[in-house]
Symmetry: C2
Subunit: 207 residues, 2 copies
């Protein structure tokens, strides 16, 4: 790092930032070094200077994704009043990303291209998926302990977290075509059952 000039670091960082945006919009196989070069106003070989192989950029994008996840989780932890509020903030952020900005989350984008990813990236994506599950599981653990969430005694926080994430990601995939309301209906229905003191006659929770 200390051997690299400020310019190099800046260009490298710009490549990662633009690459992350393209990853979320078009997927890993959906953008090329040509796209990056055009976006930054440099040539293709200059991109190769910073990331010799596309897989090198891919791994850097995995690092970027890890930081993106950690930043998001820290934000939800800081601003969320309790476990249900944290989950709702997670869902609102996902909806904004998908329907307002027309992007996939980087994890879903990478999962979509799974068959074409080099092994190193697959291993990294596996770790990132676990990282996401772990944060949601911690929220469930806290919520169950505090009585803000309720669930069958046979269900672990990790199992609840996985169901929550899988439903969210699947709903985002389908709702891109079926419409935002299908995402919101499904996730409200799922969350509803985990909220204590459910009033049957009441209208459902809004995200």
């Amino acid at each position: 790092m200390t051997t690299k000039s400020a310019n190099a670091r800046q260009t490298r960082q710009q490549l990662i930032d633009v690459g992350a945006d393209l990853l979320c919009r078009r997927g890993y196989t959906g953008f090329s070094y040509q796209d990056l070069a055009r976006e930054l106003g440099i040539s293709k070989p200059s991109v190769h200077h910073h990331f010799a192989q596309k897989a090198d950029l891919g791994l850097a994008l995995c690092d970027w994704t890890e930081q993106w996840l950690r930043d998001g989780f820290a934000h939800f932890d800081q601003h969320g009043h309790n476990a249900p509020d944290k989950l709702q903030r997670y869902l609102r952020a996902a909806a904004k990303h998908t329907f307002n900005e027309h992007k996939q989350c980087p994890l879903s984008a990478l999962h979509s291209d799974l068959a074409q990813l080099p092994d190193a990236m697959r291993a990294r994506l596996s770790d990132l998926s676990r990282l996401e599950v772990d944060w949601v599981a911690a929220v469930f653990r806290q919520g169950l302990a505090d009585g803000e969430l309720q669930a069958p005694a046979t269900a672990s926080a990790q199992e609840l977290a996985q169901l929550f994430i899988f439903a969210c990601k699947g709903a985002l995939y389908y709702a891109r075509l079926l419409g935002r309301e299908h995402f919101e209906q499904s996730m409200s229905l799922l969350l509803q059952q985990w909220l204590p003191d459910a009033q049957p006659a009441q209208s459902r929770t809004t995200l």
Copy 2:
């Protein structure tokens, strides 16, 4: 149709069959006319003779997918004893497809490549997604009416069906990396709550 020879129909059908297999294994952008030609032992232009543009083959694969869905649903309807059994058969088929045959369902494969699909295919995929939701919704409607399934009165059969499908598809995406047991745990947990006469001390339903 009557103007085409038996050979032409056969080759065309073989292209669709091989194309469907490749679609499920590598996605729509993940296979080429070269792959199809190699698989059938013919040349690339011969493939173009049957499907001038790749989008033409893509639409034929959407037709194939519709039939694949209808056949599957008919099978589950015929052999399933009741609503929960039909849903479990659906899940078992999905698990077999994913973990034994290492394929995605054609719908998930198409959703993965959504950004690169021509408009006509997107419209078709939208219809196919609704077709899938409609069948699962019908199963829920039947199950709720027969008392084989239970759910909050505020939840419609369609909403339940969508949550079921979205969770299933998301779980399949993640479980390819995290392991089959994560799919089975999540879907058992989801189904469990919709089964009446839940015995809290009992071990969970197996798929």
